[in-house]
């Protein structure tokens, strides 16, 4: 366990219909590192991500984390208000100046879409809008739930450059992904989850070089294929 932990989760349980979908999860997330939550569908990755962010309350266990204001989350399917991209951004970052707003739209390549209804943007554009909305307030922790799912190569590359930018600005990234190549590129640390339990909590280098559990090995083999 790291002393540099920005989030400490101890013995988290989330139980639905008598089944523990998060089962005694204990982990410390290191500050400034990219922590990747990996695992099969339904393993509990998104649930753990949301619990760590505080939008789902565990049935038991404790989480110590910085104040909610210093955390931001980008959802797998961006939640967009029924207004223009510009006004949606204003809602996410109400204290930003117009100059700063333009800077972020330029950075995401969305200048021509500022006045387009947010929900009419393409999938990649919606994800970029959600990203800049989360990043612009310079959060200490950025939670990303499969940020490039269903995006093409170009959009994924842009998202990764934004993730890189956020990390360079000091944000701790905690994300889920099924894109193993992306995980290899971005991860400093991996939490591998199986049936609601963290079964590997290791550096990304060690995890990818030598996964300890068969389920992790088969996961890597499957996604490599």
């Amino acid at each position: 366990m790291s002393d540099n932990a920005i989030i400490k989760a101890e013995a988290l349980f989330i139980i639905r219909n008598g089944t523990a979908i998060l089962n005694e999860v204990t982990t410390h997330i290191s500050k400034g590192k990219n922590t990747m939550l990996l695992g099969h569908n339904g393993a509990g990755k998104s649930l753990l991500l949301q619990a760590l962010h505080g939008i789902i309350t565990p049935d038991s266990g404790t989480i110590s984390a910085p104040p909610a204001k210093s955390q931001k989350m980008v959802f797998q399917k961006p939640i967009l208000l029924r207004r223009s991209a510009s006004r949606h951004f204003d809602f996410l970052c109400p204290h930003l100046s117009p100059t700063e707003k333009i800077h972020w739209f330029k950075r995401a390549g969305l200048m021509n879409q500022m006045h387009t209804p947010a929900r009419q943007l393409s999938g990649g554009e919606q994800q970029k809008l959600a990203f800049i909305g989360a990043m612009a307030s310079k959060p200490d922790i950025l939670f990303l739930d499969e940020p490039s799912a269903n995006l093409d190569f170009e959009a994924s590359a842009k998202i990764e450059s934004l993730i890189d930018h956020a990390q360079k600005n000091g944000a701790t990234i905690i994300m889920t992904t099924h894109n193993l190549a992306q995980a290899r590129r971005l991860a400093d640390h991996v939490l591998f989850i199986d049936h609601g339990k963290i079964i590997e909590d290791r550096s990304a280098k060690d995890f990818f070089a030598n996964p300890l559990h068969d389920v992790a090995k088969s996961y890597i083999a499957y996604h490599r294929a």
Binding site: Q50, H53, G54, I55, A68, K69, Q71, K72, M73, F75, I79, L81, R82, R83, S84, F91, L92, H115, T116, P117, A118, R119, Q120
Partner: protein, 235 residues
């Protein structure tokens, strides 16, 4: 009565700009539109609160408002009559047999509708936005403001439904308004009166005017929806 007589009569009355008819139409619109505005101002925020906040008594409020949805207009009229009649608790207002009493009755009639319909819309929207609101730590007042702004197009439909119920209502306004000529006579009460007098053609003509107003309101609502869509405010 020939089938086309009421249509011809309706056109004749309208084209001639019959002062009494115009007065009746004007009062009908004034009373119903005011009642709709009041019902939206009260009902929408209440609907938003019921949809987005869990608090003690919320379920009771929902049950009460849903019960009032099916309240017969004559019962509403009777209740308002008891309240505002000279010996009633609100008798001091001295509004019985005035348009104010009719506005009050129609408001009471459509507020539950406004609450129930807006609650449904806000609930759907709130379920969608809730993770974002929670993630951003948005407080209850700001949540409600966002819900109201984002549901604005759907709220036009609510206003329209409320207007339809208000303007077509007869039982309550006849009890508290008294159907007094040049004072509280609206289209529905005039139709009831003309029918009772056997003046079916005039009653039918008034009915057609009522129908035309409903048509115009629908066209206006479609136009507004189209405008908002074109103005890229999204739906």
């Amino acid at each position: 009565m020939d089938f086309w007589t009421p249509f011809k009569l309706a056109f004749d009355l309208l084209l001639a700009g019959n002062a009494e008819l115009m007065g009746i139409i004007g009062l009908s619109l004034k009373v119903s539109l005011t009642a709709v505005i009041i019902s939206l101002v009260i009902g929408m925020p209440l609907g938003a609160v019921l949809a987005s906040k869990k608090f003690f008594g919320a379920q009771t409020l929902i049950v009460i408002s849903n019960t009032f949805l099916s309240m017969p207009p004559v019962v509403v009229g009777l209740l308002i009559y008891i309240l505002i009649s000279r010996s009633g608790p609100l008798g001091w207002l001295d509004i019985l047999y005035t348009p104010y009493a009719m506005i009050l009755a129609q408001s009471v009639l459509v507020i539950p509708m406004s609450i129930a319909l807006s609650r449904q819309i806000f609930e759907t929207l709130n379920n969608e936005y809730k993770p974002l609101f929670t993630s951003l730590g948005i407080n209850a007042i700001r949540r409600i403001m966002v819900l109201v702004v984002d549901a604005r197009i759907a709220l036009i439909t609510i206003g329209l439904a409320c207007f339809g119920r208000a303007i077509s209502e007869v039982g309550a306004v006849i009890i508290v308004g008294g159907n007094i000529r040049h004072t509280t006579r609206v289209m529905t009460t005039a139709i009831a009166l003309e029918t009772s007098k056997g003046e079916l053609a005039i009653a039918m003509a008034l009915g057609l005017v009522l129908l035309s107003i409903a048509l115009l309101v629908n066209i206006a609502s479609q136009f507004l929806r189209h405008y908002f869509k074109k103005a890229t405010i999204d739906v």
